[in-house]
Symmetry: C2
Subunit: 199 residues, 2 copies
Amino acid sequence: MVGSPGEQPAVARSRQVGRPRRSEQALLEAAAAVFVRSGVDAPVREIAAKAGVGTGTIYRHFPTRPELVVAVYRHQVESCAEAGPRLLAESANPEAALRAWVDLFVDFLVTKHGLAGALQGDSAGSDALHTYFVDRLVPVCGLLLGAALESADTDPSVDAYNVLKAIGNLCIGAAGDARYEAAVLVQLLISGVLAGAAH
Amino acid sequence: MVGSPGEQPAVARSRQVGRPRRSEQALLEAAAAVFVRSGVDAPVREIAAKAGVGTGTIYRHFPTRPELVVAVYRHQVESCAEAGPRLLAESANPEAALRAWVDLFVDFLVTKHGLAGALQGDSAGSDALHTYFVDRLVPVCGLLLGAALESADTDPSVDAYNVLKAIGNLCIGAAGDARYEAAVLVQLLISGVLAGAAH
DNA sequence: TAACTTTACGGAACGACGTTCCGTAAAGCA
DNA sequence: TGCTTTACGGAACGTCGTTCCGTAAAGTTA
């Protein structure tokens, strides 16, 4: 290498030697399976065991636990985000679109045990999960919310970030508490938001 | 004692020998101070250190961490509970009473960093914190909610348990996120509940 | 006062967690 | 056939809640 003409930049040369990387896809599938069985808070060791892999391998692909969670649910978050504009176009009115989208989001959060709780992000500001959800979904929520508010001729009392975080919070602990009806409460919150009356 | 006439039941004889118990009050004050500085999630070791005590002593008085938290905030929960009927009597109308009480509760939860989050109770059904809050505050919430609904001539769409838990959830992560306005969101939820329209 | 008993004490120890680290062996290159 | 590079598994680390245990202080009895 020393004697060769240095055409190719050193940075482009990577992953040429050594074992092939275990496909991230296999890890993600194992993680998804464990999340279904044991919830999103399942230990990393359990995921590693399910994938037939050491914990180090998990961390080499996903440097931190939240990043693994993000990766597992990225597709579903994406499709939830994409559903927003579509619902707005297809629905009878903006409010119906907003309510349908919110139902979609709630169902997603409640189905994945513990996901809503994991959204908070620890004290540090660098929680990948929280950041990703906010970045991807706040604009969608804002689109639908803005349309619904305009259609209702109501001044906004809170912004899309607040609404999204509120929905996430309302879904915490919904699975595993049969008396708690997250979906209804979220719709009631939307009613309040569209009424524009914080009092 | 063996030769004495056995008037007093054996069960009444306790705490006669040995060191005096460290006053629980001192432990509670140390815990409260640490909770203010480091949040409700502060490690038990930190509380023990602040109280100048071993961790064992903490656990002898409060068998589990949530029970310590309950003990620390019992007074404030109590006064929040007592405020309910008083507000109902003093306010111009039931809705105003409900909204004032809810503000009280929200302020309480948001002020104590992490308390709202701790309310969830882990997967096991035996979380002292959750149980205590529910037992003490659901009836109060029910009283105010019932009066407000009746006054608004609205059919209830959710029960007091749902409303209380929803409020608790909405307050999660409120401290430490300046953009998130828990109090406003809670009032909007109340608006939706009193409107009786889950859609 | 001098044993003896009872009890709360402090802090080491345990198990579970997220995360980091390192010796090893497989895969490509010469 | 060796050498280099790399991902690998899993031991090790630091932190948490909780449990355990040897010790010493306080009360009781002689």
